[in-house]
């Protein structure tokens, strides 16, 4: 095993309080040998970008079920850029309407995982994007 570990931040931006999905993903990534920094509920984009900076994260997973993704995600990407961390891969999970998926991908999001995605697919996607 190489000494470098994939470090992923799992965060729930916005105001909805449903964190089961985020926890399931966090656990799956842990079991895949990654170091998962779990930041918990009600995170602002500023808090998430700050965590990514301090933790030198390779990837961020955002769980959003509130419908506010088109407001929150661009802000996170913007902050990463202004912190010179545009190399951090951003993934979205939760409830995202189909028509918003291409818009998020166009913004620079690396993957959108809706309900029913297998955790193995998420692990594989993060691993391959980080290794790129």
């Amino acid at each position: 095993m190489s000494k470098e570990k994939i470090r992923v931040i799992i965060a729930k931006p916005g105001l909805d309080g449903h964190d089961r999905g985020a926890k399931v993903v966090a656990r799956a990534l842990r079991d895949a040998g990654m170091e998962v920094i779990y930041t918990g509920l009600r995170q602002t984009p500023e808090m998430i970008a700050e965590a990514a900076l301090q933790e030198d994260a390779h990837a961020i997973g955002l769980s959003i079920l509130s419908g506010a993704h088109m407001a929150l995600v661009p802000r996170v990407l913007e902050l990463l850029k202004s912190n010179k961390q545009e190399n951090v891969k951003v993934f979205i999970g939760g409830i995202i309407p189909d028509e918003d998926v291409p818009r998020l991908l166009a913004l620079g999001v690396e993957g959108v995982f809706g309900p029913g995605t297998s955790t193995q697919d998420i692990v594989n996607a993060i691993r391959s994007k980080v290794m790129e």
């Binding site: 570990k5 842990r30 895949a32 779990y38 602002t44 500023e46 900076l53 912190n83």
Partner: protein, 329 residues
Amino acid sequence: MIDVQAVLDGNRLAISRLISQIENDTPEGQRALSELFSYTGKAHLIGVTGAPGTGKSTLVNQIAYHYRHPTNSSTPKTVAIVAVDPTSPFTGGALLGDRIRMTGLSGDLGVFIRSMATRGSLGGLANTTAGVVQAFDAAGYHVILIETVGAGQAEVDIARLAHTTLVVEAPGLGDDIQAIKAGILEIADILVVNKADRPGIESTERALRNMLQLADPQVRSEFKNSENGESLWETPIQCTIAIEGNGVTEVIDLISKHRVYLEKTGDLQRRERIRLETELTHRLQKLLITQWREQLSDGLFEKVLDRLLTREISPQEAVTQLMKGGSGE
């Protein structure tokens, strides 16, 4: 490439990237640490340890907040937090959750929180935690709070690293026999009994107080007490309700008192010496064993191992043979 000057200037991205290099034990990381070493030794290193669920992260959050927003007229201190959580022995993965309790510190540029996984180390810290602390020290943070993994009884590495060690207890964790066992309680410079609003707080506090009174003040542990016979530090007990911030100013006062004690008695120097001795020994061991393995003739180690496996020779004999450079056949 690591920009050492940027680290010294306190550039957060540079610090963060350097820490990753230290964690991954890369040659660049080691080189940078070596360059930074002369700038270290200024920060006050505060260790926070205790059983899982006693409220270490919440207390660390509160202590950091008080250093940033002092109640008296003193100037705010910059704070780095190194929060260690365990690595899974099966998958090598880790879930680092200490930040959850520290959201009150976000947005403050005078605070830097870094989560670390133990990556196989068993003493309550990661093998590279000392290096990470050095990086923060060189970057100019005044106070460095080091939170260990939820520690049981023997994870006492923190006492070798920190200047002041806080051991956090909570009501209902065990009887008075637990309190007189060797190990984690012995390393406390300050004992914090958190969750003081919980039932059983009186008996927990009493058990700990009795434990401290039973201790012979003349017993001079490796970590504590001055050699020149000056007044010994008597470990104080402070009750807190960290989630509400109760008792935290008192903890800060005790930390300052302990710092004064360390400086007055020369204990600070002594502890630094022990710490550097440990680091020097570890580095020497690592280097010597690598070099020795390199000069060993090919296949000899495996040959000795084979003979060990068939019980032809004992491990003691194997070592003697290897040091002589032969397999003993």
